[in-house]
Structure formats: structure tokens, C-alpha cells
């Protein structure tokens, strides 16, 4: 393995070892949420950053995954310890995504974004009203299966690792290049013979699957969901875009950086700043967008590239 790869693995190893260093539930809780948001960010990024389809309604998939897991346990079909709850949550989300994609992919740009938003809101309203299935506004409560957070930490880590691996692998295969082509110019790609609808759908299915799995994880870990939480437009759909873009869309580590910052910063603000914390968060968002237009990772990468080019030009001159 090259040295660069080894250094790249160091942070992953460090993350793996965290539960062995601290058993503090509060800190572990922060890490677990960060890992979950890494999955959300990376999954959204596959569809948005790499394929150029900006979804404003990813809460739809998160919510479907969460409710699948919740309903399974509530109806006695499975215990909350069942790992295949995550799988089923992801599959249901992918199914819903196929329907949403079939409806919305004939639309472009903002129209696509807003139509996904609209359908996500419809799902939320359905979850509130369909009492028999979802318990309506009262939500679903489960007793979490594991008493210590360590198990959940490793489940979240595993999900994030698989998610990262799959996305990395896809982006190095032909479909991955097609995604990029679609992002750059969909009509051009279509004229080159790429079935853009099929590949947009593929990107969406993978993205939705992992988002749904994350939702199922949330249900099992937090023990309580209701429509306002898991189908939330501002707290899930908009936040996942924020997390990815603040970190840097279409970069390898951007969504992960964004997720960690989002979790840590909002918590730090909440604890230290008190009642003005959301105000600071809003100012921070504005500041990052103005000074880091391509997200933190993206803009830093841009600057490094520019410096390298400048140096290269100097060397030649």
C-alpha cells in the first residue's frame, strides 16, 4: 500500500478505536450522530454532488426507513436487535425512491428539486394521518435493545464504512463516470447514447437505500420517532444539503467533514452560547458560503490546486 493510502487510513483507524478510549455516553452519542450524518451526507452527495440531481426531499427516504424499522417492531415482525431491519429500511426507501424517481426525473434542475420536496412533504402528512400504520402524530416508541452505546457506535461505523466503500467503488466504475457526465451536461450525455434516466435512477436508488438504512438505524438507536422528526424538511432535507455543501459537494471527504462540523458546532454553540445559538449557526452558514464557496474541503482543494499551478507557472517562467 502506498504511503498516501496508509495516511488516509489513519483517521479511519482512529475512529474505529474511539469507543475503546472513552465510554462516556454523551461523547459517544455525538460520535454516533456524526457517523449517521456522514452516511446521510455521502448518500445525498452521490445523487447531488456527483450526478447533479439536487434533491430537496431526502427526508422522504430517511423517514420511510425509520418507519419501516419502527412498524416492523411495533407489529411484532421483528425485534429491534434485528440487523436486517436496516436492510429492509433501506429497501423500502429504495422502493419509494423508484416511484419518486419515475415521477420526478422527467423534470430538470429546480423543478426536480422542488418536486422531490413536495413528495417528501406529502409523505410526512400521510405519516401524520395514517394512524393505523404509523401511530400518527404520537409516533413510535421502542425500547432500545442495547444498553451501552458501543454496539450502536459500531453499527453506525459499519454503515458509514460500507456506504463510503460502495460510493467510492461506484464512482470508479463506468456508471460513476456516467453520473458525472449527466451532471455536467445531461443532453450531451444523452446524445452520446447514455440512458440518462436509467443511471439517474441507479444513483437515486443507492442514495435512497443508504439514507433509508440510516433512518432505520435512527429508529433503533433513538427509540422514538414521529413524522415531524424523521420527515422533517428543515431538520433533515435541508440539513443534509447544508452538511454536504458546507463540507464540499462532489469531494471525497466533504460530506464527512461537513457532518462532523455540523454535529460538533451545533452542540458547542448550544452549550456555550445558550439562547442565541441558532443565530450564530445561521451566521456561520452564511460565512462559510461566502468565504468557502465550494465548501470547506472543496475550496481548500481549489486553493491548493491554484497554488500548485502558480508554482508550476513560476517554475516554467
Amino acid at each position: 500500500m502506498s504511503r498516501k493510502n496508509l495516511i488516509g487510513l489513519l483517521p479511519i483507524a482512529a475512529v474505529l478505536l474511539i469507543p475503546l478510549l472513552t465510554q462516556n455516553p454523551y461523547l459517544l452519542h455525538m460520535f454516533i450522530l456524526s457517523l449517521m450524518w456522514i452516511v446521510l451526507g455521502q448518500s445525498w452527495n452521490l445523487l447531488g454532488g456527483y450526478t447533479g440531481q439536487i434533491s430537496y426531499g431526502h427526508a422522504a427516504f430517511f423517514g420511510v426507513g425509520a418507519y419501516t424499522a419502527g412498524i416492523m417492531v411495533k407489529s411484532g415482525l421483528s425485534a429491534s436487535t434485528a440487523w436486517w431491519g436496516l436492510l429492509l429500511g433501506g429497501l423500502m426507501a429504495a422502493l419509494v425512491a423508484a416511484a419518486i424517481g419515475w415521477i420526478c426525473f422527467r423534470l430538470r434542475g429546480s423543478y426536480f428539486s422542488l418536486s422531490v420536496l413536495a413528495l417528501s412533504e406529502v409523505l410526512r402528512i400521510v405519516a401524520v394521518n395514517w394512524n393505523r400504520l404509523t401511530n400518527g402524530a404520537e409516533g413510535i416508541l421502542l425500547i432500545p435493545a442495547f444498553n451501552t452505546k458501543t454496539y450502536y457506535y459500531y453499527i453506525a461505523f459499519g454503515l458509514a464504512a460500507v456506504n463510503l466503500g460502495v460510493i467510492r467503488w461506484v464512482m470508479h466504475t463506468k456508471p460513476g463516470y456516467y453520473f458525472l457526465a449527466i451532471r455536467e451536461d445531461q443532453d450531451c450525455a444523452e446524445s452520446l447514447g447514455i440512458d440518462t434516466t436509467k443511471f439517474k435512477l441507479l444513483s437515486l436508488l443507492i442514495s435512497a437505500f443508504f439514507t433509508g438504512a440510516a433512518g432505520a438505524f435512527y429508529m433503533n438507536y433513538m427509540g422514538f420517532i414521529d413524522p415531524g422528526i424523521v420527515f422533517s424538511l428543515p431538520d433533515i432535507s435541508i440539513m443534509v444539503i447544508l452538511v454536504t455543501m458546507l463540507g464540499g459537494a462532489a469531494t471525497k471527504w466533504g460530506p464527512a467533514v461537513g457532518a462532523v462540523i455540523f454535529i460538533l458546532v451545533s452542540e458547542i454553540f448550544r452549550v456555550w452560547v445558550g439562547s442565541g445559538h441558532l443565530l450564530f449557526f445561521g451566521v456561520l452558514i452564511i460565512a462559510i458560503i461566502i468565504y468557502f464557496p465550494n465548501g470547506i474541503v472543496g475550496t481548500l482543494a481549489d486553493r491548493r490546486a491554484r497554488r500548485r499551478r502558480a508554482r508550476g507557472a513560476e517554475a516554467v517562467a
Binding site: 462516556n24 455516553p25 454523551y26 452519542h29 455525538m30 450522530l33 402528512i125 401524520v128 394521518n129 394512524n131 400518527g136 402524530a137 404520537e138 409516533g139 416508541l141 425500547i143 444498553n147 433513538m222 427509540g223 422514538f224 414521529d226 422528526i229 431538520d235 452542540e267 458547542i268 454553540f269 448550544r270 452549550v271 456555550w272 452560547v273 445558550g274 439562547s275 445559538h277 441558532l278 450564530f280 451566521v283 456561520l284 452564511i286 460565512a287 468565504y291
Partner: protein, 400 residues
């Protein structure tokens, strides 16, 4: 890009400032109690009222020497009304601050989430406002609830109907939240068990602008009573628009919350007149300290407290009483002391008992208030009543 970064510097400076400020906590013997509350978000108004009530109570307690010479210190943190934030806050209280007891939260979902966490860590938790029945129906040993559960919210109403006569039909309109659906369901079950016909049973999304379509539908069904459950200001719009549509049932009855807010009187103006509501507390109750609490709160904060404020105020006193009686201030001893609570507060009597599926639940009478002459008057039960109920209510066009 060599733009100066004023915003970043300001943010950093404020962060550092905030950190230093919080580190300058009172030195000396103090007992810190952590209280999660929604200080931002849709429920911020109630969070703020409870925060002020807690602070007022704690100041009074400390002015009298605190508990065994120790001053109480509140650590009120903003959950934004989100259960996952509330659980994070409480996990921090329990595992990092090592608090031996937790108090607070407002909504049913957040209280429920916090209760689960407290039970898991075997730390006593005093529920103050969350009303959903299920919070004290889990058989948990560490969760104690001061306020009555939502099924009891309407007890006062049932009693009032005993004196003025039960309606023959009722329309149920409630907001699609945990509180709205569970409180209205309790009413529905009572009605079905007592021969009152439910002509309409519809939930709505809170925050609507125009309720006239559904109100007109209610009007066309001619129910004897219109029963509404609303947290926020939907209560006010429902009354105003009912007046505009000239709907004249025997009574308009609210299920507490929005119908007991002072802002309800302000916003609905004369449309609020004669509206009844179940409630947990009014300043006219005969419990010691109730009126004093109301007057002092109003003097200090320039606004009227409602039953949420009274709950928070009483909770602080229950906490102080528990600390006084506990052998030591460890979670187990505090739990035992809390369980043995038997005291009177400005909110009412507090004693945790079990009945039916409920455990560790305080059981109190609930009351009925009515807006008369632009003021809230208690109309039931008779020993707390400050005025007689006007029932049935006069037609809109016959009013002044």
C-alpha cells in the same frame, strides 16, 4: 482572496466570551439541577414562561436559605423542542455533570424521550408538563410526574356537565400532535361511553390561517358542543372565525393549552368571551401561594402566567422538598425521597400514587375556566370557583 474575516473573528470572540462567562459559576456550596426546555422553536413561548417560573421559585428558595444551607442553581438548556436534543442534553447532565436528578421539559415527546434516558441510567426524573398518558404507563421506577395526564384534563369538564347537563352531541377538532390527539381521544372515549354522539372527529395541522371551511362544516352538523384542542394560537383563530360564521352551539370548550393563554384573550378579543376550557390551574384556586405566585410573576415579568408556569414553580418546590428529606443526594436516595413526597404547592397537592396503568403519577382535580368580561374565571369545581358558569353561552348576535 485576502478578504478580512470580521465575521469569523466576531464569532470566535463571542464563543470565547460565552465560554468564560459560563465558567464563572457561583462558587461555594451549590446544588445544580439540569432543566431541559424548548427555548427556541415553536414552543419557545412556553419554554420561556417555565424558565421564568423556575427562576422565580429558585430565587425565593435561596432567599430563605436554600436547602440545608445550600443554594440551588438552575442549568436550563435549550432542547429546541427536539427529542434527540433533549436526550443529548440529559445524557450530558447525567454522565458528564453527574447530576443525581433531572427536572423539566415541556412537550410530551421530549418528556417521554428524557424519561426513557433517565430510567436507563437509574436517575430520578420529575416530569413537569408533558401530558401524554404513556409517560407514566411504562412501569418505570425512576419517572415521577407532577402534572395530571391528558386523560384527566377533562375531568373538571365532566363534573361541570354533571351540574349543567350533558350535551347530546359533540364535534371534536384537534391539532395533529401528540397532545392534541391523545387529549381528544380521551374525550371521545368518554363521549362514547356516556351516550354523547360524536358528529365530527377531525385533526388539523397547526398553524392554519383559515379554519372557516371546516367550521362551516361543523356548523352544518349542529352539535351541542364544539370541543377543540390546540397548543398554540389556533385556539384564537377558531374562536374568531366561529364568531364570524355565527356558529351557536351550547358551548365552545377547549382542551387547555392555547385556550388558557393570556394571548388568547388578546388575539381573540371579544370572540373569546364565554369560551370554556378544561385547565389544570387558575390563579383563583385555593391552594396556598397560588395567588401570590400569580401576582409576583405578573409583577416581575409583566405578563400573566398560566398553568404551565404554575407547574414549573411547583416543581422547583417539590425538588427543594425532596432534597431536604433525602438521606443523601445520590440518585437512589433522591428517588426514594421523591417517591415519598406528600406536600401542598401553589399548583396543588403533590403525591405520587399508582392506579390503573399509571405509576408514580400525581393525581389532582382538574378545573374548568371560562372567559367572562375579558378575564379568566374559574367556574368548576365549586370550591375553587370564582364565578358561576354561563352555560349555555349566548348567541353571538345577542351579545353586547
Amino acid at each position: 482572496m485576502t478578504k478580512p474575516r470580521p465575521m469569523q473573528l466576531v464569532t470566535l470572540a463571542l464563543l470565547v466570551g460565552g465560554m468564560s462567562a459560563s465558567l464563572l459559576l457561583a462558587q461555594g456550596k451549590t446544588f445544580k439541577v439540569g432543566v431541559p426546555l424548548p427555548l427556541t422553536g415553536a414552543e419557545a413561548k412556553f419554554g420561556e414562561m417555565e424558565k421564568q417560573a423556575y427562576e422565580m421559585a429558585v430565587n425565593e428558595i435561596n432567599a430563605k436559605g436554600g436547602v440545608k444551607g445550600t443554594n440551588l442553581v438552575l442549568d436550563i438548556q435549550d432542547s429546541g423542542g427536539k427529542p434527540e436534543t433533549a436526550t443529548a442534553i440529559v445524557e450530558k447532565f447525567i454522565t458528564i455533570d453527574k447530576d443525581p436528578i433531572v427536572v423539566g421539559e415541556y412537550s410530551s415527546q421530549c418528556s417521554y424521550a428524557v424519561a426513557g434516558v433517565a430510567e436507563k441510567y437509574k436517575v430520578p426524573y420529575l416530569v413537569v408538563t408533558g401530558a401524554a398518558d404513556k409517560i407514566t404507563q411504562q412501569g418505570w421506577k425512576y419517572v415521577y410526574r407532577l402534572n395530571p395526564p391528558s386523560t384527566l384534563y377533562n375531568q373538571g369538564l365532566y363534573g361541570l356537565w354533571g351540574t349543567v347537563g350533558k350535551p347530546k352531541s359533540i364535534a371534536l377538532l384537534y391539532e395533529n400532535t401528540d397532545f392534541g390527539t391523545s387529549t381528544s381521544r380521551a374525550m371521545k372515549e368518554y363521549c362514547e361511553a356516556n351516550g354523547i354522539k360524536v358528529v365530527l372527529d377531525e385533526g388539523y395541522q397547526a398553524g392554519g390561517v383559515d379554519f372557516k371551511p371546516i367550521l362551516q362544516k361543523v356548523k352544518s352538523l349542529r352539535p351541542d358542543v364544539i370541543y377543540m384542542v390546540s397548543y398554540l394560537m389556533d385556539a384564537s383563530l377558531l374562536m374568531r372565525q366561529s364568531k364570524e360564521l355565527d356558529i351557536n352551539p351550547q358551548a365552545f370548550i377547549g382542551g387547555a393549552a392555547g385556550f388558557t393563554l393570556p394571548e388568547f384573550l388578546q388575539n381573540a378579543a371579544d370572540a373569546s368571551e364565554d369560551a370554556l376550557s378544561g385547565t389544570l390551574w387558575t390563579p383563583q384556586v385555593k391552594y396556598p401561594g397560588a395567588k401570590a405566585f400569580f401576582d409576583n410573576f405578573k409583577a416581575k415579568y409583566s405578563k400573566d402566567p398560566d398553568y404551565h408556569g404554575a407547574e414549573a414553580y411547583a416543581a422547583a418546590y417539590v425538588l427543594a422538598d425532596t432534597l431536604k428529606r433525602a438521606k443523601t443526594w445520590t440518585p437512589e436516595d433522591l428517588r426514594a425521597a421523591l417517591a415519598a413526597t406528600n406536600m401542598m404547592t401553589a399548583f396543588g397537592p403533590v403525591k405520587f400514587i399508582s392506579w390503573g396503568k399509571f405509576t408514580n403519577q400525581n393525581r389532582m382535580e382538574t378545573l374548568v375556566l371560562q372567559v367572562q368580561n375579558k378575564k379568566f374565571e374559574t367556574v368548576y369545581p365549586p370550591d375553587a370557583a370564582s364565578a358561576k358558569a354561563i352555560y349555555p353561552v349566548p348567541h353571538w348576535r345577542d351579545r353586547k
